[in-house]
């Protein structure tokens, strides 16, 4: 299985990378880890004339905590960097756990968080938990940069608002006072399986009342989505099994799944109900897991 010919650049700086992107426009693709792009190129689904590698941009690999800003994750951090990051383990173990349950160890050592977001597969495991945690992403181009909520990045399956001359450089999980968050997914195998449905929740609980709740659903709509009505149903109410079950039902009705080889739309809707309930119980009772 061979790759078609393409031209390759490995710029030394972010500004040089942006200039190179400007020069080639839509003919070029950004190469981060490559696990998505190379398999697509091998399968003939993608044939960029130019690949612009980010391998020399070491700054984009950092995961750090910036007081007043939050946890900053460089787009080139690999999935295993997220799994092993002490900062994430301490503050948002849920993100490390979501990364840990993706693909295989070999792929987690190559694939990057930025690549996972830019590839915009509806079943991707990182978007739901990052959306639930209110993460923002920074897009940098030669005309300047913009920051937006991650949930606004996606426009459809494998489609984002990222322009041809923009590079996603970092993800920020803002400073906040959440009490718990988690991502759980249903896959057809325990390892290396895409999510049939993935549910992330983030909650703030005080004295038995849900102050704030965010629910993000993966693999049950053309893009990762928030279950806003279910969130609204939880907000300000006392925790009870009935309340959580109702939130699951509402989230299930909000989801817009399709039928495919991994499961029917009806099955997915029911999974949304069950997994929303389970994820809420987990985040309320166990914290960031």
């Amino acid at each position: 299985m061979y790759l078609p010919d393409f031209d390759y650049y490995a710029p030394d700086s972010l500004s040089e990378a942006c200039e190179t992107l400007d020069r080639f426009g839509a003919k070029a693709k950004v190469l981060s880890g490559g696990t998505d792009i190379i398999s697509k190129m091998k399968g003939g689904l993608l044939s960029p004339e130019v690949l612009i590698s980010l391998k020399k941009l070491e700054d984009l690999k950092k995961i750090e905590y910036v007081s007043g800003k939050g946890v900053v994750i460089g787009a080139r951090a690999t999935h295993n960097d997220l799994v092993n990051s002490k900062i994430l383990n301490d503050k948002y173990l849920s993100v490390s756990e979501a990364a840990h349950h993706m693909a295989s160890n070999q792929i987690r050592n190559i694939g990057t968080v930025g690549g996972n977001l830019c590839n915009a597969v509806p079943s991707a495991d990182l978007p739901p938990i990052l959306i639930a945690l209110g993460a923002t992403v920074k897009l940098v181009g030669s005309n300047g940069e913009r920051t937006m909520l991650l949930e606004d990045l996606f426009t459809g399956p494998m489609q984002t608002v990222i322009a041809h001359n923009e590079i996603l450089t970092e993800i920020v999980i803002p400073e906040q006072s959440l009490t718990g968050s988690t991502y759980i997914k249903f896959g057809l195998r325990r390892s290396g399986a895409l999510a049939v449905v993935g549910i992330a929740v983030a909650v703030t609980v005080s004295q038995g009342t849900i102050i704030e709740a965010k629910i993000a659903i993966g693999a049950a709509a053309p893009t990762p989505m928030r279950a806003r009505e279910a969130e609204e149903h939880l907000r300000g109410n006392m925790i009870s099994d009935e309340l959580i079950e109702e939130a699951g039902l509402i989230a299930s009705k909000e989801s817009k799944p399709i039928s495919d080889i991994r499961g029917s739309a009806d099955y997915r809707r029911d999974l949304v109900r069950v997994f929303t309930r389970r994820a809420l119980h987990k985040a309320i009772n166990e914290g960031h897991v």
């Binding site: 790759l3 010919d5 690949l51 160890n105």
Partner: protein, 174 residues
């Protein structure tokens, strides 16, 4: 950036140097050359196998800076300047590595096609965590498919190595 030579068709070739099993190799590759093909075709290190070539099966597992990766998913030029260990590099001279010995002793090799990748994944795990439990072993080899389905003995072979007290363990127990 690696030195670039442009041929008469206008295709660029890049001079890269990779360290494989302790030795530096300089080779000329195209941008679209995949790392596994350099190892097998240019360096004759055919212990690294090609299976699915899409990052699913793990036959092409190598250690890149000590971490297991699928060498079918990495461009050779992306590995320029980095260190690689292949299955040929884990034994010390004539002596097999203890993971290799354990695979033989526990019947963990059937057709043998997944074995190099399995051993490298196991090796990376044991370097990081000398005494893993069964769950950790299964997780570490989850990206290596054995179509003979010989997983029981493979897990057993890795656990046997993990049972052996290593030197550090003996000292700390005293």
């Amino acid at each position: 950036m690696a030195q670039v030579i442009t041929d008469q068709q206008g295709i660029k070739h890049y001079m890269i140097t990779i360290n494989v099993n302790g030795d530096d190799y300089t080779r000329v590759v195209k941008a679209n050359t995949v790392l596994v093909n350099v190892l097998r075709d240019e360096l004759d290190l055919t212990g690294t196998k090609k299976g699915c070539e899409l990052g699913n099966c793990g036959s092409c597992t190598i250690l890149l800076e000590g971490k297991p990766v699928d060498s079918c998913m990495i461009l050779a030029i992306e590995a320029d300047g980095r260190s690689i260990t292949t299955i040929e590099g884990i034994a010390d001279s004539a002596e097999l590595d203890k993971v290799q010995e354990s695979f033989i002793n526990n019947g963990a090799i059937q057709c043998g096609y997944c074995t190099p990748g399995m051993i490298l994944s196991a090796k990376a795990l044991l370097t990081r965590n000398p005494h893993p439990n069964e769950h950790e072993v299964r997780e570490a080899i989850a990206g290596n498919l054995c179509r003979c389905t010989g997983y029981v003995n493979i897990v057993k072979a890795v656990l046997k190595v993990a049972e052996e007290p290593n030197d550090k363990g003996v000292i700390s127990n005293e």
